[in-house]
């Protein structure tokens, strides 16, 4: 099956790059440890920020990795060659989504495990939900990365999309200023940025022992954003180019 072998191919590429694997797994854990020491003696604040970061890191990392990987497919000619084979666009899009989704699951599991059991992070809801939302966020990063790679010609340009795509979402997601306290127009922007919903979903898990309706609604919005980004991404994959 073409999709399965595409997933295997992308994971093999990752496997040959142990440094990247180490960065994927270790960096979020290190940063959360940093946050732990920044807020030593304020466990409530640490809980809130660390929980948000567990959703933000996978998004950033997967966005970057995917946009570079897809840009390489475009610039090295492998994409053009694939389009002369029986590969479908969906095989490629889902191939990347699934392969990097697997990597993101490992990342989220290690970072969450470390936060809960070593740094003593507390949430009312379960760790499984945290990982679920983190992985949804990672796949959102993959989908947006695939889309943005179409607008970059070089790797220099591709990395510049990170501040453009990630920073506004991070600033307006409610971590720095509660969304209800923002000016109306900022709130309006915040309302259309998918990360606002994943952070709200994580906050719900932090406060409630059982999954809430708001959490499921937020997760649905994130999944919807993934689907939209993938459809737009598919539209940028052109079999014929100039």
């Amino acid at each position: 099956m073409i999709l399965a072998s595409t997933v295997r191919r992308i994971l093999s590429q990752l496997r040959h790059d142990p440094r990247t694997i180490a960065m994927i797994i270790v960096v979020p854990t290190l940063l959360i440890t940093l946050i732990y020491f920044m807020y030593e003696g304020q466990p409530r604040v640490f809980d809130r920020i660390a929980l948000t970061m567990l959703g933000v890191f996978p998004f950033i990392v997967m966005f970057l990795i995917t946009s570079i990987a897809m840009l390489r497919e475009r610039t090295t000619g492998t994409l053009e060659r694939l389009f002369t084979t029986p590969v479908g666009k969906l095989d490629l899009l889902f191939g990347y989504g699934i392969a990097f989704g697997v990597a993101a699951t490992a990342q989220a599991a290690v970072a969450s495990g470390f936060a809960y059991w070593v740094l003593d992070m507390h949430t009312a809801g379960g760790v499984g939900l945290v990982i679920l939302i983190a992985v949804a966020n990672a796949v959102l990063g993959v989908a947006l990365g695939l889309l943005c790679s179409a607008f970059a010609r070089t790797e220099f340009q591709a990395v510049q999309f990170m501040p453009l795509v990630v920073a506004p979402q991070l600033l307006l997601c409610g971590l720095f200023v509660p969304r209800d306290d923002m000016a109306g127009w900022l709130q309006a922007i915040s309302n259309v940025l998918p990360m606002s919903y994943s952070v709200e979903a994580l906050t719900e898990v932090g406060m409630h022992t059982e999954p809430t309706g708001i959490m499921w609604r937020d997760l649905t919005v994130v999944v919807g954003a993934i689907v939209v980004a993938l459809i737009l991404g598919a539209a940028t994959l052109r079999r014929r180019t100039a």
Partner: protein, 240 residues
Amino acid sequence: MQTAIEVRDLVVRRGARAVLDGFSCAIPQGSVTGLLGPSGSGKTTLMRAIVGVQIVASGTVTVLGHPAGSVPLRRSIGYLTQAPSVYADLTVAENARYFASLYRLRPADADAAVEAVGLTGARHQLVADLSGGQRSRASLACAIVSRPEVLILDEPTVGQDPVLRDELWDHFRRLAADGATVLVSSHVMDEANRCDRLLLIREGTLIADDTPAAVKRSAGTDDLDQAFLTLIRQRKGVTA
């Protein structure tokens, strides 16, 4: 002999310039056809149009009776791009096996293709660690892995040592003898003598479409380089 590839009145523009300007040719099945011309003459553009990844302004390209790039052709075409298009962060074997899997072929088929390009000894090396010539052979292995009926090879022998080049040409000849249609671009004229037919192309127009012997005869020389030159001059004389 049946026609495998038919190009009719093909126009491809890049910006205001016509890279191919009303190009027509027919390539017979089961042959090795050489596509020769200087750099920038439109060779790669023609090949991209044949495999169906080139946006064309007008004209038609028909391969094995189907429009170029259509779904049924994607199982029967092999395409080697000019720059090696394989995954540098995979081994030779992993690359070949991935491309084999796209045609539902087994790893053994992939290993056979690696063998055919003389990379068996390097099959577990990452493509990134190979020499330029080895890289392009790794790329070639992925193009021939599906034993395609139509094989489009953009400068497959650049940078290869003479012995290997000879072996690769033998391989192309064998594929054609088995019924495959092979189109090979080159700017090395001595390779042209190994083709059944030649397409000479310059500035997006066809200068000659014949057997190497006939091309030389019509130019009145035994040297293909010289023949190419003569044909260009004759043509200029006609249009002037």
